[in-house]
């Protein structure tokens, strides 16, 4: 019998930490040099020490608040504008060109704009995070809305349903699997940008702390920051995935990915309240 998948996954993490320890403690110098890097044990010690400080948790809360605000705003705006541009030719013609021109600009390149626009750094960081997550959500939503089979819409229209009913009962639930994909990408991009923005212009936050550790040559501190970002990023995208899977439990099982997250044993009851709300 195969070992439990969680065990395999945990072992993979441990093995890579072990390899790290081996390379750094033996001062391996191939073409890349591991002798300047802190060992895994040093990082672990620094990490446990940091966990006991209030500062660490304050940084965590700051970063989470920024990404939470930016991502939620991006989700709402991205879905709303995605639906609008997919369903209305006027919206597509008026908003489409503007969005397409802004889209290739990396969100982190907006730092000067953010500094000029907003009275405080805090709002600028949320703005950058939001912009970063907005486009994946927008594009995914637009595609998903266009891909909703017209048959479903026609079914509701022949029942006498108007635009609002079609939107609420067909377009939004029908596009949800695609939207979830966009949200999943969006939360990942949001992390990249919140950390970068904190490094450039932040006061406090995991990104700021990681960069300031580097500037005072506290290399274990840099890795503590990186590990923190890694764990937080994994946890948040895992949460988005889990919620997304629950909301789209009606998809054929093959389409729903397997992961370490506990799959709902009976998906239907977990989803029913949401469905009822969506159907009114």
């Amino acid at each position: 019998m195969r070992p439990p998948r969680r065990l395999v996954r945990a072992a993979a993490l441990l093995a890579s930490a072990g390899l790290w320890q081996l390379l750094t403690s033996q001062h391996v110098r191939l073409w890349v040099r591991f002798d300047h890097l802190p060992t895994a044990v040093e990082v672990w010690r620094a990490f446990t020490a940091r966990l006991g400080t209030a500062e660490y948790w304050q940084d965590l809360a700051d970063s989470l608040r920024r990404i939470g605000g930016g991502f939620l705003l991006a989700a709402v705006l991205g879905v709303a504008l995605g639906v609008l541009t997919a369903r209305s030719r006027w919206a597509a013609d008026l908003l489409g060109p503007v969005l397409e021109v802004v889209r290739p600009v990396p969100a982190i390149a907006l730092v000067p704009v953010a500094i000029m626009l907003f009275p405080e750094n805090e709002q600028g960081i949320v703005f950058i995070t939001c912009t970063a997550a907005f486009f994946p959500v927008l594009v995914a939503t637009r595609h998903a809305v266009r891909a909703v089979p017209p048959l479903w819409e026609e079914a509701v229209r022949t029942m006498g349903g108007g635009r609002a009913r079609v939107l609420w009962s067909v377009v939004l639930p029908g596009a949800l699997p695609g939207v979830v994909g966009g949200l999943s990408v969006g939360i990942g991009v949001a992390w990249i940008c919140v950390i970068s923005a904190e490094m450039v212009s932040g006061q406090f936050g995991v990104g700021y702390r990681t960069w300031s550790a580097y500037t005072v040559l506290d290399y274990p501190g840099v890795f503590v920051g990186m590990a923190t970002i890694g764990v937080l990023g994994w946890a948040t995208s895992g949460t988005v995935e889990l919620i997304g899977r629950r909301l789209t439990a009606w998809l054929p099982p093959a389409a729903a990915g397997r992961s370490a997250a506990p799959a709902p044993v009976r998906p239907a009851p977990a989803v029913r309240p949401a469905r009822q709300e969506a159907g009114v």
């Binding site: 089979p149 048959l151 479903w152 026609e154 079914a155 509701v156 229209r157 022949t158 029942m159 006498g160 349903g161 009913r165 009962s169 067909v170 639930p173 029908g174 949800l176 789209t248 009606w250 998809l251 054929p252 239907a268 469905r275 009822q276 159907g279 009114v280």
Partner: protein
């Protein structure tokens, strides 16, 4: 209170490329009119126009003598397949027409349970469409079409994707439901035998219009298939179909 559907000089399709032109058709209240024609002959186009999903390019389309404008709940549409919303359970799919017309929740459960029972799906209320067989899904569509007591039911090859046995069972189910409801039914099919079994009359689409309309002797009686009158009509229909203009070569049609 079944609906009379009338087409006069109806022209349908894309501007400059009509699929159907000069269609004259009168579907009497409570009648079952079956429509046969080759693939690409405009059967679905006609049905979508009757449903109000496709505005006519020309001519008149009337419901009870009044111009038909847009879709409406008094004309229910049944699709060949995939017409159900896959995130809704059987019960909530059947409930949908009542939800759309804002029937209070308390008044929905009665008709919904009644119709799920009548199409033989009691006990499967909580299933999702993907957890049902093709025949069961069409039963749900039938229940969903009828739960709102429509005055006409428009069916677009609803049993076309089913195996022969399931199809026969669904035909009997449809007839038993119709016997009680007596709503107007327009039933599109490419199967001449199905058209003869179900229809009071059979309309033949060909050459971009209604080529002929035949009254069916002994309809709804499978045993009457051997009656000379039915056999003759069957031959006539097959001849008219093969003689009709065929934009798309016919394949695998029974």
């Amino acid at each position: 209170m079944s609906l009379r559907l009338t087409a006069r000089g109806l022209c349908l399709g894309h501007p400059g490329h009509p699929v159907l032109d000069g269609v004259d058709l009168d579907v009497a209240p409570g009648e079952v009119l079956t429509v046969v024609g080759v693939s690409g002959g405009g059967k679905s186009t006609l049905l979508r126009a009757l449903a109000g999903l496709l505005p006519p390019l020309g001519g008149e389309l009337l419901a009870d003598g009044r111009p038909l404008r847009g879709p409406g709940a008094e004309r229910a549409l049944v699709f060949q397949e995939d017409g159900l919303l896959p995130w809704r359970t059987v019960r909530r799919n059947v409930e949908l027409p009542l939800a759309v017309r804002r029937t209070p929740r308390a008044e929905r459960s009665g008709p919904v349970a009644d119709w799920i029972g009548r199409v033989g799906l009691a006990g499967l209320e909580r299933r999702l469409p993907r957890e049902l067989s093709g025949g069961q899904r069409q039963r749900v569509q039938l229940a969903r079409a009828l739960v709102g007591a429509p005055r006409a039911v428009l069916m677009d090859e609803p049993f076309g994707a089913l195996d022969a046995q399931t199809r026969a069972a669904m035909q009997q189910l449809l007839l038993s439901v119709w016997e009680k409801e007596r709503c107007t039914v327009v039933f599109v099919t490419h199967d001449v035998d199905e058209a003869l079994l179900l229809g009071d009359r059979v309309a033949v689409l060909g050459g971009g219009t209604v080529a002929a309309v035949h009254a069916v002797p002994y309809s709804r009686d499978p045993a009457a298939r051997s009656e000379p009158a039915v056999a003759a009509l069957r031959e006539l229909l097959l001849a008219q179909l093969s003689g009709a203009g065929r934009p798309v070569p016919e394949e695998g049609s029974p």
